[in-house]
């Protein structure tokens, strides 16, 4: 007989809220790359507004986890699950911020941003793959999959390093592009690089959840 039924239900709810938040942000990232591809101003506006929804999700997870800690005095893996959920929600919130920032970028640089936008799309596949593997890793508390997330982040870091050089080349060629646009575009790819780092942090949290050991993958 399970003598902690309501506690188990609360923990499941907590895990489901996290997965829901991960999936929601993955969808936002799909939409984000569509916006980048088509230079879609309305879509950019939606990206900015979606951030409010994500912030609310983080609040919900925090409140739920605090209350379960308060009422159930969890220990061992239960405590790790709840503390980790608060940290993961925080990382996810940051990742979603970047999508909103990119919405602002699209709105502010409607012209002359094409050569940059093409390069930005290179981040689409590795970032979306990171989400997919991360959701699986979290659902299954799978350490191997958490390490796979980290490997995908390495791909992003390589693209990022290469693109900085490419960006400088483009800026040199196209002298009509003002310095502001070039800098803005550079800041955008920095966001992708950071998103990868935060998703890797989540992978680290998953490893802690499973093993109780802190690892540094970034």
């Amino acid at each position: 007989m399970n003598i902690r039924e309501s506690f188990d239900i609360s923990i499941q709810e907590n895990q489901q809220l996290i997965v829901k938040m991960m999936k929601c942000i993955q969808e936002i990232y799909v939409a984000m790359f569509d916006v980048i591809k088509s230079n879609d101003l309305d879509g950019a506006e939606r990206l900015i507004n979606d951030d409010i929804l994500v912030n609310e999700m983080e609040e919900t997870i925090n409140e739920q986890a605090y209350l379960v800690v308060l009422k159930q005095c969890p220990v061992a893996s239960d405590l790790r699950k709840l503390v980790t959920s608060i940290k993961v929600a925080n990382e996810l919130e940051r990742v979603a911020d970047y999508a909103a920032n990119i919405g602002v970028y699209i709105q502010k640089t409607t012209q002359n941003n094409e050569s940059y936008r093409k390069l930005m799309l290179n981040y689409r596949q590795p970032l979306l793959d990171m989400f997919t593997v991360l959701i699986e890793a979290y659902n299954e508390s799978d350490v191997k999959k958490a390490f796979k997330v980290c490997a995908l982040d390495n791909d992003i870091d390589i693209i990022y390093e290469q693109q900085i050089k490419q960006f400088i080349a483009i800026t040199r060629e196209k002298t009509q592009i003002v310095a502001e646009e070039a800098s803005r575009a550079l800041l955008v790819i920095k966001q992708f690089e950071r998103a990868g780092d935060h998703l890797t942090n989540i992978a680290e949290h998953i490893i802690f959840l499973r093993t109780g050991k802190h690892v540094t993958l970034n």
Partner: protein, 253 residues
């Protein structure tokens, strides 16, 4: 810094008639720290506690095998001074059990039995024990009142003072707060944490949170076996054994 052991226990088994209560326990207990014993009812933790001052001797059917070394001497050796052992190893029980006499006489009882007659010496010993047990301020004006007039929490601290008056090295506590209200419980816990500077304390508790709050080391017993023993912080955050995890998270059986 390496801590010293107050107890070194090897291959300790206890049998009540035909029923094994403890099976081949090996454990070292650190001095001047708090060690909590946890586990479901009937797991052997109270039996274990009672082997440490040979309280099990009082149970006719009980047989003890193995060795319980205290400060390097096996207290189960033939001819071991049991009175001396019980002086060294004091005990506090679940239900406060003051003697039906005055507060002063309760604490003076042990020293008097030891032959302390000098009034001044006795007075000093009683006051020091009451102070150590954080009870002095509450009872200083009524030392001649009956101990039974005290509240439950005060009675329990009086029992601790009574044990301390014997100047023991070890305090055994068998669920010392399970009959007390939450505030009285916290007072006792606070007291126990202060006492560990001078004494080695071993406490049986059914409150996992209490073990997590105050114990430096925790031992988990199940069905007469010592399943896991280690630093409390580690045992409650990342237990090594699944049975421990199941028990402390409340998913047992």
């Amino acid at each position: 810094m390496k801590t010293k052991n107050i107890f070194e226990i090897e291959n300790l088994s206890v049998i009540y008639g035909e029923t094994p209560a403890l099976k081949a326990i090996d454990i070292d207990i650190n001095e001047k720290s708090i060690t909590a014993l946890i586990g479901p009812s009937g797991c052997g933790k109270s039996t274990f506690l009672r082997t440490l001052n040979r309280m099990n001797d009082l149970i006719p059917e009980c047989r003890v095998m193995g060795s319980v070394m205290i400060r390097g001497e096996n207290c189960y050796e033939n001819g071991y001074d049991i009175i001396g052992l019980r002086k060294k190893v004091g005990m506090v029980f679940q239900k406060p059990n003051p003697f039906p006499m005055t507060i002063f006489d309760n604490v003076a009882y042990g020293p008097r039995c030891q032959g302390v007659k000098n009034k001044e010496t006795l007075n000093e010993m009683v006051l020091e024990a009451l102070k150590q047990a954080a009870l002095y301020d509450e009872v200083k004006d009524r030392l001649e009142s009956s101990a039974l007039s005290l509240s439950g929490g005060q009675q329990q601290r009086l029992c601790i003072a009574r044990a301390l008056a014997m100047k023991p090295e070890v305090l055994l506590m068998d669920e010392p707060t399970s009959a007390l209200d939450p505030i009285a419980t916290l007072k006792i816990e606070n007291l126990i944490e202060r006492l560990k500077k001078q004494y080695s304390i071993i406490i049986v508790t059914h409150s996992m949170q209490q073990a997590a709050r105050i114990a430096d080391y925790t031992a988990f017993f199940y069905m007469g076996e010592l399943i896991e023993y280690g630093k409390t912080d580690q045992l409650f955050s990342v237990p090594k054994h699944k049975q421990t995890e199941d028990y402390i998270t409340g998913r047992f059986g």
